[in-house]
C-alpha cells in the first residue's frame, strides 16, 4: 500500500481523534489528505512526536489521541514505548508508517533495514495490542477494531517506499502559527483553556 492510501483510510475513520504527526513524510501526507488544523505537525525534535502525543493524551484523558509516527522517528526514541506502556493511556493510538527508508532525504535505507520487528518491540515493552498491517484491504478491515479498542495500541503500517525525495509538500504554515492554530482549534473543539487571558 502507498502511504497516501493508508492516510486516506485513517482519515476516513479518524472520528474525533486529535492527531500528532511526526515530522516529514507522516506530517506531509496527513496534511495533504486532511488539511486539518486540529492536528499538530512536528517541525523538529525528530523521534518525539510519540512523547508529545502521550503528554496530550494524559492531559485530555477522555479525548482520543492518535500519533502518526514514522519508522525513522520511532527508531530515534524507542524508549517512548516503555513510557507509553508505563502510563497505559486508554485514549492513545500509536501508528507507525514503516517504509524502511528515510524518505525525506531521498529514500536513504533505514538502520537495520527491513529486519526490525517493531511489533515485537512494542509487545516486549508492555503494549500487548500491537500488530502490523501491510495491505490496504487489511487496514480497511481492521481499523474499526483498532479505533474501538482501548489504548495504548500500536499499529505498524507497512507501506511502499517511494523513489527519491519526498514529493508531497508540507503544510502551508509553520512554527508559532502551528502552535496557535492547533491550540485555538483544541480550545474551540473541547472547551479547554490552552492560552491565558493575554493570549500566551
Amino acid at each position: 500500500m502507498k502511504t497516501s492510501e493508508a492516510m486516506k483510510v485513517l482519515a476516513a475513520r479518524r472520528g474525533d481523534a486529535i492527531v500528532v504527526c511526526a515530522l516529514g513524510m507522516a506530517a506531509n501526507e496527513w496534511w495533504a489528505e486532511t488539511h486539518s488544523d486540529d492536528s499538530f505537525y512536528m517541525h523538529g525534535a525528530m523521534g518525539f512526536a510519540a512523547s508529545f502525543a502521550l503528554g496530550l493524551a494524559l492531559a485530555l484523558p477522555t479525548v482520543p489521541v492518535w500519533v502518526l509516527n514514522a519508522d525513522g522517528s520511532l527508531c530515534m526514541n524507542l524508549g517512548c514505548l516503555l513510557t507509553e506502556a508505563g502510563q497505559s493511556p486508554r485514549n492513545l493510538k500509536h501508528f507507525v508508517v514503516d517504509n524502511r527508508v528515510y524518505q525525506t532525504v531521498g529514500a536513504v535505507p533505514m538502520v537495520n533495514q527491513g529486519a526490525a520487528d517493531y511489533v515485537g518491540l512494542a509487545k516486549a515493552a508492555g503494549i500487548p495490542r500491537a500488530r502490523a498491517i501491510n495491505d490496504l484491504t487489511a487496514l480497511e478491515r481492521q481499523l474499526p477494531e483498532i479505533v474501538a479498542e482501548p489504548g495504548p495500541s500500536f499499529t505498524v503500517l507497512g507501506v511502499e517506499a517511494a523513489t527519491g525525495f519526498l514529493r508531497t509538500p508540507p503544510m502551508t504554515y509553520e512554527g508559532p502559527e502551528m502552535k496557535y492554530r492547533f491550540g485555538r482549534a483544541l480550545e474551540r473543539r473541547l472547551g479547554i483553556t490552552v492560552f491565558g487571558p493575554q493570549g500566551y
Binding site: G44, L58, A59, G79, G86, G175, Y200
Partner: protein, 168 residues
C-alpha cells in the same frame, strides 16, 4: 518544611502543576519521589530527558500545567529537542534541574556540565534562574509565569547548597 516540600508546594499549589515528567539524578530524586506520591499530579517517569520535554509540550496543548524534573547531565542531552520543538513552535516548558558542576560539587563526571551548561543555555536563548536559598523558592511562581510569557524553555536550577544544605 524541607526544601523539596517547599518546591513541591510552590509548583502544585502556586503554579497549578498537574503533570510531572521526570528522570532523576541524585539531587532531584527526593523531589521526584514527592511529586510521584502526590495523587493530584500525573507522574510520568521517562527513559530519556527529551521525552519529558515533549510530554510537557503535549500537555501544554491539553491545558495542563507541567514540569520536567531532570538532572544537569540530562539537560545537556535534550537541548536540541528544546530548540527544534520549543523554540521552533514557541512552546513553554518549565524544567527543574540540578545545577551540577558548581564549585561545591567536586565530582569529576560533572566538570563539563559545570563549565558549559550556562553558556550553552545563553547561546540557545533559554531562560534560567538559580535557586540557591530556601527563601528564593517563593519566586518559583514568577519563574513559571515568565516561562509561559516568554514562550520558551525555562530552567529553574537547584544548587547543592539548596538541596543538600550549607554544611553538607
Amino acid at each position: 518544611m524541607d526544601v523539596d516540600a517547599r518546591i513541591h508546594e510552590e509548583l502544585t499549589q502556586k503554579c497549578g502543576v498537574r503533570l510531572a515528567a521526570t528522570l532523576p539524578d541524585d539531587w532531584v530524586a527526593p523531589l521526584i519521589r514527592r511529586m510521584g506520591a502526590d495523587p493530584d499530579v500525573r507522574h510520568v517517569p521517562v527513559a530519556r530527558e527529551a521525552e519529558a520535554i515533549a510530554i510537557c509540550s503535549g500537555a501544554f496543548f491539553g491545558g495542563v500545567r507541567s514540569v520536567a524534573v531532570i538532572g544537569a547531565t540530562g539537560l545537556l542531552t535534550c537541548t536540541g529537542e528544546m530548540a527544534t520543538l520549543n523554540l521552533r513552535h514557541q512552546i513553554p516548558v518549565f524544567c527543574v534541574v540540578s545545577m551540577r558542576g558548581s564549585i561545591d560539587d567536586q565530582r569529576i563526571y560533572q566538570e563539563v556540565q559545570g563549565r558549559l551548561t550556562i553558556p550553552l543555555l545563553q547561546t540557545y536563548g533559554f531562560l534560567y534562574h538559580v535557586f540557591d536559598r530556601p527563601e528564593d523558592l517563593a519566586s518559583i511562581p514568577d519563574a513559571y509565569e515568565t516561562c509561559r510569557l516568554q514562550k520558551r524553555p525555562f530552567i529553574a536550577f537547584l544548587t547543592r547548597r539548596l538541596v543538600k544544605g550549607a554544611h553538607a
